[in-house]
């Protein structure tokens, strides 16, 4: 028995050692929103290139930025672009590369109301400011003519943990409501005027589904996967749009025309027809001049693949692929990353 065990242990260590000799291991961390598609991508890439093991862990956008700045991970990922101060604090220049698009949707729990509710940005902002407190408030009723709204209190649910999802939500609300911008502001964690906090999309969704009269915000993919009902939001052109992969891609297409060179742009409340207003890019963060050039080359090759073949995995997972105009700009920027 002992001999067999030793034999197995030896065999394992030989296999591991041989494997380890050639494997390239790259660690990255950051946003939770793209985790499903990234895990798919890194797994597929590993199948195509068995010696490349890219280990991505989603501990949060801020975590990704922190660790990238400290250089404990080779690349980061964030749902909100890095601020100027954060970029200055990093030991080298960091480049942003949008990888996919996502959206945040308003979910609610109103049994008895079967119709899909319509919201405007201003109404959502007022709800989250605590100014609209009942479901049958005039402001909501005006948008939803013909729907019988109950006199229930609105229970506001937000995120308790810092998150890119929150960032996208408050970024949008601050654009449509000056009062929200001054009172609350834009960050991954804010001082909410009212409501309860749930941890993660799971926490918010759980709270909303169990509290009659609750309203919350979650990622589109989350709502689709958990089959939670969500409302439509009025976009800058005045249309009420229900979030969908198409509507989100349209939000980005408009942005390509005025894309800044570093891709740090917010596309909430974008102009255009059929656009879903609470959409956002999510970015992969790379040092322009990293010390380990072989790892840099591997990452550049990966990003090229992700922007090309990788995009075909988007729709099955509920993500909106990047518009080709943006991909073209990114491939040009990728050439600036030093790989030798």
């Amino acid at each position: 028995m002992k001999k067999t065990l030793t034999g197995i242990a030896l065999a394992c260590s030989v296999i591991v050692a041989a494997h380890a000799a050639q494997t390239m291991r790259i660690n990255g961390g950051g946003a939770t929103f793209p985790n499903p598609i990234y895990s798919k991508w890194f797994s597929e890439y590993n199948k195509l290139h068995p010696t490349v093991e890219i280990n991505y862990q989603s501990q949060g956008s801020g975590f990704g930025i922190q660790q990238l700045t400290q250089q404990t991970v080779f690349f980061g990922a964030s749902d909100g672009p890095m601020t100027d101060e954060q970029l200055k604090a990093a030991p080298g220049a960091i480049m942003h590369f949008p990888t996919v698009l996502g959206a945040v949707v308003p979910v609610y729990n109103l049994s008895g109301v079967t119709a899909e509710l319509k919201f405007t940005g201003a109404v959502l902002a007022d709800i989250y400011l605590g100014k609209i407190t009942k479901w049958n408030d005039d402001a909501i009723a005006k948008l939803n003519a013909g729907v019988k709204l109950p006199a229930t209190d609105i229970t506001v649910v937000h995120r308790s943990d810092g998150s890119g999802t929150t960032y996208i939500w408050v970024d949008y609300l601050s654009k449509v409501s000056p009062e929200f911008k001054t009172k609350v502001g834009v960050k991954t964690a804010v001082n909410w005027p009212t409501g309860v906090g749930g941890k993660g999309n799971e926490g918010v969704s759980g709270l909303v589904s169990q509290t009659p009269g609750a309203i919350g915000y979650v990622e589109l993919i989350y709502a689709l996967q958990t089959k939670t009902s969500y409302g439509s939001v009025q976009n800058a052109s005045g249309e009420f749009v229900k979030a969908s992969v198409d509507a989100v891609t349209k939000a980005a297409a408009g942005a390509a025309a005025n894309m800044p060179a570093d891709f740090r742009v917010s596309i909430t409340n974008a102009q255009g027809k059929g656009v879903y207003p609470v959409s956002s890019f999510t970015w992969l963060l790379l040092y322009q001049d990293a010390k380990d050039k072989t790892q840099a080359k591997t990452m550049v090759d990966f990003v090229k693949w992700a922007l090309g073949d990788g995009q075909k995995y988007c729709s099955e997972l509920g993500y909106a692929p990047l518009p080709p105009s943006v991909v073209k700009l990114e491939l040009a920027a990728l050439a600036k990353v030093k790989t030798s």
Partner: protein, 281 residues
């Protein structure tokens, strides 16, 4: 009511309260275990134990790397904590009145109250940042630090309970202090000390926060100690926070496996304790 019957009533009420306490404690245990088992057993198959995590949409994913990782991390933690904990416990019981012992006791109790996430952040600053590398070493260190106070205090309390006659007898026979303690007193208290170690293991086996910043997690399999390593708790945490039913089910399966591992350690410890007690006669 006469005084006697009042006292008797009080006694009966007290006994009833104690019985009620046991049911009150066992009720949530039953509810939670039932919940974990019913949610987790559906996803428990051979693939779970032998496969790597698969991305969403692909079936047949498992937590092989996480199971191995948890075993490695708890092993590292124990290797670090057991010597420090037991030796500190020995000092605190042997030199019980000294100021040093009081200081160690105070430090142990304080360390016990430090939240696991603070310990994780501390080890991050000490063992991850200087090397710019997440590693299984750092994870083991964080878990070990959490185990030390439980092992130390339990060892101390149990050594103090060993009758003084045993130590005195050994010393009377000419043994050095260290021989008396390690040869006679410690073995006498060993069963209880093992309970302390198992209690500490149970405490850390379910911890997520300290591993987030130290061992990180790994989608791939590795046994290298200077690399990020997967663990059941972090994997469960990641899956539970996702939107996908398949990942949720795997999270519950992972929770079931975790509880079972600790359960088995506890059983093993009890059997070992029973054997030791029988051997001593």
């Amino acid at each position: 009511m006469s005084r006697t019957s009042r006292r008797k009533l009080l006694s009966a009420l007290f006994v009833g309260f104690c019985g009620l306490s046991v049911t009150l404690a066992l009720a949530p245990l039953a509810l939670i275990l039932f919940y974990v088992i019913s949610q987790g057993v559906r996803s428990l198959n051979l693939a779970f134990f032998t496969h790597m995590p698969a991305p969403v949409g692909e079936t047949g994913g498992g937590m092989y790397n996480a199971i191995v990782g948890t075993l490695i991390l708890t092993g590292l933690g124990s290797a670090f904590a057991v010597p420090i904990g037991i030796m500190s416990g020995v000092y605190m019981s042997e030199f019980a009145g000294s100021r040093m012992a009081a200081a160690i006791r105070f430090a142990a109790d304080t360390l016990n109250g430090v939240p696991s996430i603070v310990i994780g952040v501390f080890v991050y600053g000490v063992a991850v940042l200087p090397f710019k590398q997440f590693s299984a070493f750092a994870g083991g260190l964080a878990l070990g630090i959490m185990m030390i106070p439980i092992i130390a205090r339990t060892t101390e309390e149990l050594l103090l309970l060993v009758p003084g006659t045993m130590r005195e007898g050994a010393l009377a026979l000419g043994a050095t202090r260290s021989k008396a303690v390690f040869g006679v007193v410690l073995p006498a208290a060993l069963p209880g000390i093992i309970t302390g170690v198992v209690l500490a293991l149970a405490r850390i086996a379910g911890e997520t926060a300290p591993l987030l910043f130290t061992a990180f997690n790994n989608a791939f399999f590795t046994t290298k100690l200077n690399q990020p390593i997967a663990s059941l708790t972090v994997q469960i945490y990641a899956y539970a926070n996702s939107a996908y039913d398949d990942w949720h089910r795997q999270a519950w399966a992972g929770a079931l496996v975790l509880v079972s591992i600790v359960f088995m350690c506890s059983v093993f410890a009890r059997i070992a304790t029973r054997r030791l007690e029988a051997m001593r006669g």
